[in-house]
């Protein structure tokens, strides 16, 4: 049963990845005109450069063969060559990946902790003052996109108070953390509302369930009831949304890293778009999509740990 589930999920995951990668690859073909001049936009290509690009992308092959070469290369860690750096795309991205992952991890922790705590407090006080207060604050925070958050944080905490650096990613563990705090907060702000509201909603829904009333009627302490019957049961949706969060965070790094001058994958994406370095753009887009799809598949596979009905395949999602 479990094995069939895993195999089924893996199949679905692979299909989604194949389709998504094809979409990314063939998106280039939507651009009218000659692929060589598209790839070498803004440059004065020498005949050798044209030959090199034609060879690298297999531009004289039929499209599906180009795709197979590209995707096949990916599996061997060959993401092609960057046009701006004269280096392997994999090296360029690999150098910048750690700081981006650190940023995302830091932001994710902030979001989950504040979101779940705020949502829980709101749910347990539903309809009363703390609930309304939290909802209002969450709504307000939700309207602060990362670049706005970045501007405000830089103005207040970097320039005015001078508590945190406004620029760069620092050296060594603590210095890096110090550098990454403002960017991760800027990124986290607008996502807290997501986790906060889903936590609140899920818990409010569980609080209204009859089994909670049954547990209460059995003489359990209110806190025990909340812990064992409300929070535990409410975890499923929170878990699912946390998976979806990853995609949003990965993309937000583009904005936040640019704002804070951090040399990560996000700012590399923007820089590559600016410098017309399509191979790097393509590779980063694929990585973000793959990360999102894989994380969500993992979240999906882990659901039965939370809800035994999911294993039986009858849980309503």
């Amino acid at each position: 049963m479990i094995i069939r589930r895993v195999v089924g999920k893996l199949g679905s995951l692979t299909l989604t990845l194949v389709l998504a990668s094809a979409l990314i690859f063939f998106s280039r073909f939507m651009v009218p005109g000659d692929p060589v001049s598209f790839l070498l936009r803004g440059r004065q290509p020498s005949p050798e450069a044209i030959a090199a690009v034609t060879e690298q992308f297999g531009l004289n092959l039929p499209p599906w063969e180009q795709y197979l070469r590209w995707i096949g290369g990916m599996f061997q860690g060959d993401f092609g060559r960057s046009l701006q750096f004269r280096d392997e795309v994999s090296t360029v991205i690999g150098d910048r990946l750690p700081v981006t992952l650190g940023l995302v991890a830091l932001a994710a922790v902030m979001i989950l902790v504040t979101g779940i705590v705020a949502g829980t407090i709101a749910a347990l006080n539903r309809g009363r003052l703390p609930d309304r207060l939290i909802l209002t604050v969450l709504t307000a925070l939700g309207a602060i996109p990362p670049f706005v958050g970045a501007i405000i944080l830089i103005a207040v905490f970097a320039v005015q108070l001078n508590w945190f650096p406004a620029f760069g990613s620092g050296d060594g563990f603590f210095d890096t953390i110090h550098h990454l705090i403002l960017p991760s907060v800027a990124m986290a702000i607008s996502f807290i509302v997501l986790i906060g509201k889903i936590t609140r909603m899920s818990m409010v829904e569980q609080l209204g369930r009859e089994h909670v009333q049954v547990a209460t009627s059995r003489g359990l302490k209110p806190l025990t009831v909340v812990r064992r019957h409300v929070f535990r049961n409410a975890l499923g949706p929170i878990f699912t949304v946390s998976g979806l969060l990853i995609a949003g965070l990965l993309v937000s790094t583009a904005i936040v890293e640019s704002a804070f001058g951090i040399a990560g994958v996000g700012s590399l994406l923007v820089q590559s778009v600016n410098r017309l370095d399509f191979p790097v753009v393509q590779a980063i887009v694929l990585l973000v999509v793959a990360a999102f799809v894989i994380v969500n598949a993992i979240v999906d596979l882990l659901q039965p740990l939370i809800d035994p009905r999911a294993a039986a395949g009858e849980a309503g999602r």
Binding site: E210, H211, V214, A215, G219, L220, R228, P308, R309
Partner: protein, 536 residues
């Protein structure tokens, strides 16, 4: 000795609405007391107040004394201890009432372990003991199971076991069998009665079913609109109700008890030609990884013009599938359906076929809350149908006809303009009937058409149906799980189980001389008051 004594209990919501107007009620040790009422009567609220489970912000006055202490004024620790060891409650829907993410064992032992500080082993022992007490087949194995692995009836036993785990002296049961089939209900009631006697508990039993109350309980309280209307020994309330409301309720409650001198009601008209002829209808649902389900196995049914045929069965018997195949919502695997001698195709596709099918058979669905389009007023619903079948009729004529139809089922012109959400369940079902009649079908299929309604409303709708039959000589296929209702409507009935018709006979004969053992089980399971002798 008095166990529970409620006196002068009132309950007000924060918005000032008073839901209970001074309830007085007592339950003695070992006594079974029923609290009967229709929805909104306040019976569940009264039951919950016994456990101190009140809506948040509700204001109460009066007393709920259990063994001399007032539940309403207990301090939190006292109240928790009281719920763990003195009183317990069995809720209506076990599927909703047991946490789906925790094991049965956890459900049974958590109050003991976390509240009373019992060791895991000791709590486990008690859990096995109570599971055995409610006749669960494999107590040891059940502890590790999750709720979704058990049937509804089994789960309700688990719920009862959970209530018994703290050895309560008062057991409050809130409609504990309403979600269950009648044969399962009979088993659960037997378990409850057994445990009550063995443990000499007091039992407060909340139900909408007067038959059930009268058959199980010593005394009955009839509630209406937040007040106790009548109180007395069960048989007396049932056979000689004193207050007007109780009399109406008793009169509206269908029963399967057959008076000794009762003869089968004659058919509405003289036996005519067959309207519906179903031959060897077969339908099997196959889902991957599951056992195939036989919804219909060689079902053969006939109805003559003007007759009403009842189809009785429990859930999963295939009775609804039969209805859906007849009206063309599902396709049969094999067999034929003919109406007025015309063999019908599986699912009509072409416009001509669809309209032809519609004129032959119409259907009234179970849930009046979902069977009407929320955006369409009562008269629009009927006009839609009229317009489709009489495209050349002028709108003004359609409208007049719609209003006439609605008034024929007892709806006023003002209600004709109302959207479904402002209509009551009974009114909606009348709209559904009018909508079906608008097409003037040869056959009307009613699938549990009154099951979602309170008994007094049900009685009114059943009256509407019999009036229509009298006036129009309509032929009806009446599907229900409730033998007593079927008996009010149908001269003949068939009994279905697992997709098969096990018995077909005049309804009176089914009740008095059931031939098939399943029919006998079904009839015996229906609670009823014995006209002679004591309570069962």
């Amino acid at each position: 000795m008095t166990l529970l004594e409620i006196s002068g209990l009132t309950l007000d919501l924060p918005n000032g609405k008073r839901l209970l107007h001074g309830i007085d009620l007592t339950v003695s040790v070992g006594e079974t007391v029923a609290l009967v009422g229709e929805s909104g009567s306040g019976k569940s609220l009264t039951a919950q107040s016994v456990l101190g489970l009140l809506p948040s912000g509700a204001q109460t006055s009066g007393q709920v004394l259990v063994e001399g202490s007032d539940v309403l004024t207990m301090k939190p620790p006292e109240l928790l201890a009281y719920r763990r060891s003195t009183a317990a409650m069995v809720f209506q829907d076990p599927r909703a009432g047991i946490n789906p993410m925790r094991t049965i064992g956890d459900h049974l032992t958590e109050a003991l372990r976390l509240g009373e500080g019992w060791s895991v082993a000791r709590a486990r022992e008690r859990a096995i003991e109570v599971l055995a007490a409610v006749d669960m087949p494999r107590p040891h194995d059940h502890l590790r199971q999750y709720p979704h692995e058990l049937s509804g009836g089994m789960l309700q036993r688990v719920m009862i076991a959970g209530a018994l785990a703290g050895s309560p002296r008062l057991l409050v049961c809130d409609e504990p069998t309403t979600a269950l089939d009648v044969t399962t209900q009979a088993q659960i009631l037997r378990v409850l009665a057994e445990q009550r006697d063995k443990r000499s508990m007091g039992l407060l039993f909340i139900t909408h079913d007067l038959n059930l109350a009268a058959s199980l309980c010593d005394r009955v309280y009839v509630m209406n609109d937040g007040r106790v209307g009548e109180e007395g020994p069960a048989r007396q309330v049932f056979l000689n109700p004193e207050t007007a409301y109780a009399r109406r309720l008793v009169a509206a409650t269908p029963t399967i008890t057959v008076q000794p001198n009762e003869v089968p009601a004659p058919a509405a008209t003289a036996p005519g030609p067959a309207v519906l002829e179903v031959r060897d209808l077969t339908k099997t649902y196959r889902a991957r990884g599951r056992e195939p389900v036989h919804a219909a196995k060689n079902v053969t049914v006939d109805i003559r013009r003007g007759d009403a045929l009842g189809v009785v069965g429990e859930s999963g018997s295939g009775k609804s599938t039969l209805a859906r195949m007849i009206v063309g919502l599902e396709r049969a695997d094999a067999g034929t359906i003919a109406i007025d001698g015309h063999t019908l195709k599986g699912q009509p596709r072409k416009r001509v076929d669809r309209l032809d099918r519609a004129r032959r058979v119409q259907m009234v669905f179970q849930d009046p809350y979902l069977s009407l389009d929320p955006r369409m007023t009562a008269s629009q619903a009927v006009e839609d149908a009229l317009h489709l079948h009489h495209p050349r009729l002028r709108m003004a004529d359609i409208r007049t006809q719609a209003l006439t139809l609605l008034s024929s089922v007892g709806l006023a012109t003002t209600q004709a303009e109302a959207l479904p959400r402002t209509l009551s369940g009974g009114q909606r079902q009348r709209v559904a009937i009018a909508r079906a009649l608008a097409i003037e079908p040869s056959l009307l299929v009613m699938d549990e058409a009154t099951s979602a309604l309170d008994v007094s409303v049900q009685a009114q709708v059943l009256d509407v149906i019999s009036e229509i039959r009298r006036e129009r000589g309509l032929t009806i296929l009446f599907i229900s799980h409730d033998l007593a209702v079927v008996r009010r409507v149908c001269e003949r009935s068939v009994v279905m189980r697992a997709g098969e018709i096990v018995e077909s006979a005049p309804t009176i004969d089914l009740l008095t001389r059931p031939q098939h053992e399943y029919t006998r089980l079904l009839v015996d399971s229906v609670p009823r008051v014995m006209l002679v002798g004591g309570n069962t």
